[in-house]
Assembly symmetry: C2
Homo-oligomer: 302 residues x 2
């Protein structure tokens, strides 16, 4: 699992900082999350293959999270994309994208699908044989969702030595990988735990931007491996965080701690601060494993 | 008069090239023309003061000419802009911008005005005491206008020596600047030409992008000082130019010659060509005074 931060600054694009967008690679799938202005350039700079992106998840319809979407959709079209593209985002996203395509009289030659979100409860919005994506309802100035990406449990690994020892035939291997016990010809029952090893733990990633501090997300992101949580402000600007419905670094760390996540990635920094290092320092006073997101950074989660 | 090319490449933004946008400074006014994705970054890089832009002219609603507009409008808002902003562009531009502002629940605190264009004839769309802006109806795949910017004639310059020689009182000076003859107390009539000099010739600039080769624009841009004309293709791809309703460098030069313009600026290059120098070479075979537009280039027209 790895995460490429294409942009993680709040509000306006600037010469050296980009609005929110990131690419999550999990179980050989590539998911684009949010798409601020300039995302297509950031994808090029970070050498992400455009054709590998088949799903785009948009948290909310503030400009710094989706004004790059129409340009990306159009560029896909100009590059003769063939595979279908599905956009997940708040109600309204379909209307605004379709209106722009209509005005440009430029309809994509590939299939463009929309899954519009309006539920205030967590729901499964994507599922294939390897990965499930659920919404994480957030509390912001407009309807907003975070997204939880979880690998499905993988099959158990065969204990080859034991299988040979019991002379189990290959036709039973899949049953063992599926967790079943095996009855030998002499009637002995060999428990699965003896014939197989635990599979690698499912990877998981939670994206939470933008939101005021809310513990309502904790049951949804509980024990997640990596949590990206917005930290627009430092604790010294807590009043602004509350007013604008954003989070401080301290608050993000409190969420990480209470949800018992393994690692916390910070981002969505207000551009008022000269250095982002203070965010890490503040969060580490509460929570140990803090990673400082920044544009162009790639996190490889081993 | 000077022209800053923020972007002059067709189709998709790329790492080192930008879609169409330019800033014209004429008679102390600053006009933004077209606004592809990333225009706000290009404005920053070229140190154009955001607050100096009060009018934005959008030629047509293809993405490479206007997908940066909503971001710029939002950024103006985040930067606490106060002065009003007027957008000139095809019918539909108001609906799409307002829809995006509504979905973001982010209304600018400044006055945002729209002048929607639909006429197929050239018309005056902006006029103040110094400058007039007219549309130049173009022929493209969607409704498209170029824009002609013309200074109003300035007042004549006083011939100070002559005025003193005839002992003309200062209260008559404005009449002389306005072109009136003067009757002295002894009844002699002094013709204005003897008392004043011609004012500097009005500056003029015509922006024409995107369009198929069309001589219908010649009467409108006749004798203009500077013509920016799109040259998406070279003559070797004339069939593509016709098919996609664009122009070749040769054709742009023919328009410049037939319209008797002083200087031709080229732009809107297809990204298929390795170097843009070939555009200049091809145009110069037809027309002498060719300038090669490129991102970040500033032309000072003395």
């Amino acid at each position: 699992m790895n995460l490429t931060i294409l942009g993680c600054y709040a509000a306006t694009p600037r010469t050296f900082t980009n609005p929110t967008s990131q690419v999550l690679e999990i179980s050989d799938r590539l998911f684009l999350i949010d798409c601020g202005e300039g995302t297509q350039l950031q994808l090029r700079k970070n050498r992400i293959r455009f054709t590998a992106i088949n799903q785009i998840f948009i948290s909310h319809l503030h400009g710094d999270h989706f004004y790059g979407l129409i340009g990306l959709i159009s560029t896909f079209s100009l590059l003769n994309r063939h595979n279908s593209l599905t956009i997940y985002g708040p109600v309204g996203i379909k209307e605004v994208i379709k209106l722009q395509l209509k005005l440009a009289n430029s309809w994509p030659q590939y299939e463009l699908k929309f899954v519009e979100l309006k539920s205030k409860k967590s729901e499964v919005i994507f599922e294939d044989k390897r990965v499930i994506v659920k919404t994480i309802p957030l509390k912001h100035r407009v309807y907003t969702n975070g997204f939880l990406f979880v690998e499905k449990p993988k099959e158990r690994k065969l204990n080859v030595d034991k299988v040979q020892e019991y002379e189990i035939e290959t036709c039973y291997f899949q049953n063992i990988k599926n967790g079943r016990d095996i009855t030998l010809e002499d009637g002995r029952v060999i428990p699965n735990a003896e014939l197989s090893f635990d599979p690698p733990a499912p990877r998981s990633y939670a994206f939470c931007s933008d939101t005021v501090y809310t513990e309502s997300i904790i049951p949804i992101i509980k024990d997640v491996e990596v949590l990206y949580h917005e930290t627009t402000f430092l604790n010294s600007e807590e009043h602004l965080a509350e007013k604008t419905m954003h989070t401080t670094a301290k608050q993000a760390a409190m969420i990480a701690k209470k949800a018992n996540v393994k690692q916390l990635v910070l981002g969505h920094y207000s551009t008022r601060y000269e250095s982002i290092k203070a965010f890490k320092k503040e969060a580490e006073e509460i929570f140990d494993n803090v990673l400082l997101g920044d544009d162009g950074v790639v996190f490889n989660f081993k």
